[in-house]
Subunit: 258 residues, 2 copies
Amino acid sequence: MATQEYPQTAANKVNRYGNRANYDAEFIHGLVNTTPVLHVSFNPEPGSLTPIILPMIGQVGQYPGDEEPHVYLHGYVSSRIMKMGADSTSEGLPLCVAATKIDGYVLALTPNSHSYNYRSAVLQGTATVITDLEERLWAMHLVTNSVVADRWENTRVPPDNVELQSTRIMKMKITTASAKVRDGGPEDDKKDLKRDGVVAKTWTGVIPFYERLGAPIASTYNKVKTVPNYIKTFVDKQNEVAQRTANEAAMLEYGKKK
Amino acid sequence: MATQEYPQTAANKVNRYGNRANYDAEFIHGLVNTTPVLHVSFNPEPGSLTPIILPMIGQVGQYPGDEEPHVYLHGYVSSRIMKMGADSTSEGLPLCVAATKIDGYVLALTPNSHSYNYRSAVLQGTATVITDLEERLWAMHLVTNSVVADRWENTRVPPDNVELQSTRIMKMKITTASAKVRDGGPEDDKKDLKRDGVVAKTWTGVIPFYERLGAPIASTYNKVKTVPNYIKTFVDKQNEVAQRTANEAAMLEYGKKK
């Protein structure tokens, strides 16, 4: 990928807890690509005081021939954001995209020192609705298989004309991006660690937090008797990685990099 | 509570899938209060083209004496949003707050009909940093116990002056709010349901998705030998409700209200 690390600018510089900051492109893209719902913010019109947030499904990917990766966002033709992206000038609709993972609740001696273990990325850029059919199909494939690996190949494809009419893909050029990470156990102030009575009676540690996929439930019209292997494998792998990631984050020494 | 249902205006009206829309205040507040990380968006300066999103911890609550519930957001004194909230005019800093829960991946015969089961709320309003000590402590208690029930009472409280100096609470007046819900199994088009070959080979249904809390991991300086009951009970209850909610959503008939 062309971008190894995003530059630190006034727009994306992490002021609070600079030691938790991360501008690594691979890390940021990976976080977007493993977050099942992104939060996308935009101003409904130029000069709006209050932005809007939409939950959306998206992926970072680099289309063959492009010089850098973009964020691809999936949506419906009639939605406001897609209309704005299509109506927009060639510079595109300014967007902010956030991807957030909680890895644990960090319980300290005093409420003020409580925290979350988390990984969080915020990206800004400008987005346009893509019109090239080949790139649209490439992006739909990318997004579909991000939800369940190999799902595209195991469904009725390609989309027909009516389906292509109703689905829009926005492509955001990434202008700034940054991430923050917090892991490890709690970190209490010396003043509290010295208070034997407080330490003796207050449980401190981490409650790991992760996303879990349950046993698949067939639809009323499903005719496939057993859950296919590609789905079982996907569910098991997701669950293993999610639980392990949260547990590992909890057991790291606070503030140390993996 | 004073507000039973938020009015439908141009700002919050749900255009796409109007049947999934929900303006019920209790539902919206409940969603905010069970979402461990909220996404908060604002414009870094008036006339900004691109908003910023911050992941934050918050709760809806009604302070004794207030006529309506507000969103309380927890943050650090040095963060940009808190500086803006404190510097702001008496009207407050315009914010958008989003709370999103995924309940399942909905797998249909064709990628275009894939969906998520989800519950999503978006609130807009104006926020100020609160200065009244009693209300600040009330809000810190509210937010702390939203992460782990009864945690406040089981830690070293109240916060001392240094702690009070470093923590800020923003209070957002809710001006508009709406929610969307999708539940049930997949819904395919007749054209695909009639294709016996497609139906025979494509598994359709829902993979339930929920948040899971793992077994608590003690800190290096923890002296409490067993995990206290209030934490165990909290973890078990959260896990039971989360899994049940996702499974129930998957088994509802598509589009029917619970």
